[in-house]
Structures are given as structure tokens and as C-alpha cells.
């Protein structure tokens, strides 16, 4: 549709002084609603008929021509109908599809919402459980702390923990004479240790080996052994206790007196010093296979 119009009959009738180019768009669209080609072709045909009236009067040819034209128009009309029907079918089919997908989507949204609700409920539940468990954990941690403290105390009491404190270090060595009877014997060491326990020592180690309730001082061939570990002279006996009274009390006990008497007799070298801070190691952890804890009510009946 070109801007400079051909001077058609319509146009000539309504031409304005302003000219075709200035025609408002809407008005131009309305005026040129009919394809101009129809007017052109009609004008040309009229001109041809005017120039050659004989051919135009050939009625049979013209009828043929008109019939063919109508058939052509019918074919185009059929195509048009096909287009319209197809578009309508397509649109309705699409509408059905859209509705289906919309329904599906709505269903999925609802499903998702349900799941969110469910999950939120579970979150709340789990949070509650977590709170409960945290409370339990705190209880357990507190109980563990108490138990650890108790174990530490028991270790100290039973001699199964490393300990430190003031005490006496007594070094015993063979006599300088080098004679056989001048050697330190197991019984000497036993007497000394027993005397120390009696004098109030709270923890004792010999040559760095801690003495516990399961310790035995034995003779192993020529040497003295604590359980299975052989010792060599000099024997360093470290005892934690009251430094002011421990040595004096040791002298007063029967075992202490016996030890010092024998030591004087065979000429053992004995040296006793108060030490402000002794470090006694922990013994190897005991492996108890048969002994098990027993309640205080049954133990008095079982023990005799």
C-alpha cells in the first residue's frame, strides 16, 4: 500500500487541499479497505473493451473466463475455510492442553505446599528432639565430669594415678665392703616400704616404679624385682607424706626399726632427704579379669 495514491474514483471525490500524504492514517486505512488492484484491473478491462469491442463481445470466451475465475475463487475460498477450521481446531486443542497443564501445575503447587508443611512439621519435631537431646547431653556431660572427678580421686586413693607432693627420698645401696651379706635384700626393701606405709606415706615408688595394691616385691634370681621388673642398686624409695613427721615416724615403727637395725649391722648405705615436691608416676593400668565391683551390702557377707 503506497503512500502516493493512484487517483481512484473514491479518492477524487474526497480529495482534500492538504493532499494524500497528509491524510490521517485511520482515514486512509478505511478508504483503501478495498484492494486498489480491483479498480485498476476493472479500469484496464474497460479500456480494453472500449478499444476492442469485438473481442469483448465474444460471449462464449467471456463465459468460460468467468467460470474459470469463479472456480479459482472457490478453490481459494476452500483454502480459506481450511485455514479457519484448522486455526479453530488448533486453538481449542491448545486450550485443552493449557487447561491440562494448568491443572497439573496447580496440583504440583499444592503437592509442594503440602510437602513444605510436612517438612516444617518435621523441622519442629526434630528441633524438639534436638532440644531434648541437648538437655540429655548436658546431663551426661555433667555426669561424666562428676565421674571423671571421682575416678581421679579414686586413682589418687588407690595409687593408680600420677601424683605429686612433698615427701621423703630414701636411697639404699649395697655396703662398701662388697661382701655378699652387705647387699640389699628383698626383705630389707620390704621392711622399709612397709615401715613407710605404716608411718603414714600416701604414695610410694621404688626406682620410679609405683607401688599399688597389686605390687609385690620379690626376689628374681640375684636381683630384686617389683612384679616382673628387675631393679638394680642403688634403690631409690620415694614416699609422699608429711615431711615433718614421716622420717621420725618411720624410726618408730617396728618395720622401720628392723630395717635400720639390719642396715647398721651389714653396713648398707642409707640416705634420707626431705623433698619439697616429689613426682610419682602412674603405674601401668591394672587388667582385672575376675575381680568385679561388688555392692557394699553384699561385700561384708561375702568377705568372711
Amino acid at each position: 500500500m503506497s503512500a502516493d495514491d493512484a487517483p481512484g474514483p473514491d479518492h477524487a471525490r474526497t480529495a482534500r487541499p492538504t493532499g494524500a500524504a497528509a491524510l490521517p492514517l485511520l482515514e486512509r486505512v478505511t478508504r483503501q479497505a478495498l484492494e486498489e488492484d480491483y479498480a485498476h484491473v476493472a479500469a484496464r478491462r474497460r479500456a480494453r473493451e472500449a478499444a476492442d469491442p469485438d473481442r469483448a463481445d465474444g460471449a462464449g470466451g467471456a463465459g468460460d473466463e468467468a467460470g474459470r475465475g469463479l472456480r479459482r475463487a472457490a478453490v481459494v475460498a476452500a483454502v480459506f475455510g481450511l485455514l479457519v477450521a484448522t486455526a479453530a481446531v488448533q486453538t481449542s486443542r491448545n486450550a485443552a492442553t493449557d487447561e491440562t497443564s494448568r491443572t497439573t501445575l496447580v496440583g504440583r503447587v499444592n503437592e509442594g505446599r503440602d510437602r513444605v508443611t510436612e517438612l516444617q512439621r518435621r523441622v519442629a519435631e526434630l528441633r524438639e528432639t534436638t532440644d531434648d537431646l541437648s538437655g540429655d547431653l548436658e546431663d551426661v556431660v555433667a555426669a561424666e565430669g562428676a565421674a571423671v572427678g571421682e575416678v581421679e580421686g579414686l586413682r589418687l586413693l588407690t595409687g593408680y594415678g600420677a601424683t605429686a607432693g612433698p615427701g621423703v627420698r630414701i636411697t639404699v645401696d649395697d655396703s662398701r665392703s662388697g661382701r655378699a651379706e652387705g647387699r640389699v635384700r628383698t626383705s630389707d626393701l620390704r621392711r622399709l616400704v612397709t615401715g613407710l606405709w605404716e608411718a603414714g606415706a600416701e604414695a610410694i615408688a621404688v626406682n620410679g616404679l609405683r607401688l599399688t595394691a597389686r605390687t609385690a616385691i620379690v626376689t628374681s634370681g640375684q636381683a630384686i624385682a617389683i612384679n616382673t621388673r628387675s631393679l638394680t642398686a642403688p634403690y631409690v624409695v620415694e614416699a609422699i607424706g608429711d615431711t615433718r613427721t614421716l622420717q621420725v615416724d618411720l624410726d618408730r615403727t617396728a618395720y622401720g626399726q628392723a630395717f635400720f637395725t639390719v642396715a647398721d649391722l651389714v653396713g648398707l648405705q642409707v640416705e634420707a632427704d626431705n623433698v619439697a615436691r616429689l613426682q610419682l608416676p602412674a603405674p601401668a593400668d591394672p587388667v582385672l579379669r575376675y575381680a568385679e565391683p561388688s555392692t557394699p551390702t553384699t561385700s561384708p557377707e561375702a568377705s568372711p
Binding site: 486505512v29 479497505a33 479459482r72 475463487a73 476452500a78 477450521a85
Partner: protein, 110 residues
Amino acid sequence: MIAALGLLIGIVLGLVLEPSVPLGLQPYLPIAVVAALDAVFGGLRAYLDGIFDDKVFVVSFVSNVVIAALIVYLGDRLGVGGQLSTGVIVVLGIRIFSNMAAIRRHVFHA
């Protein structure tokens, strides 16, 4: 009469066969239909005016359909498909209405 028969046959064919349009062409079908509608009403008016010509009708029909589809396709490529379709529909609608008015004048002599 024969044209109306053709139209009827076309519609029936379309409804019976339900031809499926390729997915790529689906957006252009409605606008092509509107363009075809314009061509058909133009042809009808020309027929009533007595200046109908089958060649012009065929050419205007085909070119209307093709050009309308092309414009929308171009708009889609440029990202203004919706606006261009609206413009095409407006122009074609106005033409259809004014052609209808002319046809009405012919039919009812009013």
C-alpha cells in the same frame, strides 16, 4: 454460490482431517486467518461492486496471508512480535469493518 460451496468444503475438510500445524508455524496461523478474512471480504465487496477479478483475489489472498505471517515472524525475531501482531490486527480489522460496511450497503441498499 460456487465460492460459498468451496468455503463449506474447506471448513468440513478442516474439521474432518484436523490437520496438525507444525509447532513453529502455530503463532502465525491466527494472524494468517485474519489476513485471509480481509482478502475474502475485499473479494466479496469487489464482487458486489462488479469489479471482481479472480487473479487479483488469488494474489491478494496469498500475499495477505504470507505478508501478515512474515511481519509477525519478523516481529518475533526482533522481540516486538506482540506489538506488530496488534498493529496488523488493528489495520486488518479496520479494513474488514469498512469492507463489511460497503457490503452491507450493497445487500440492504442502505
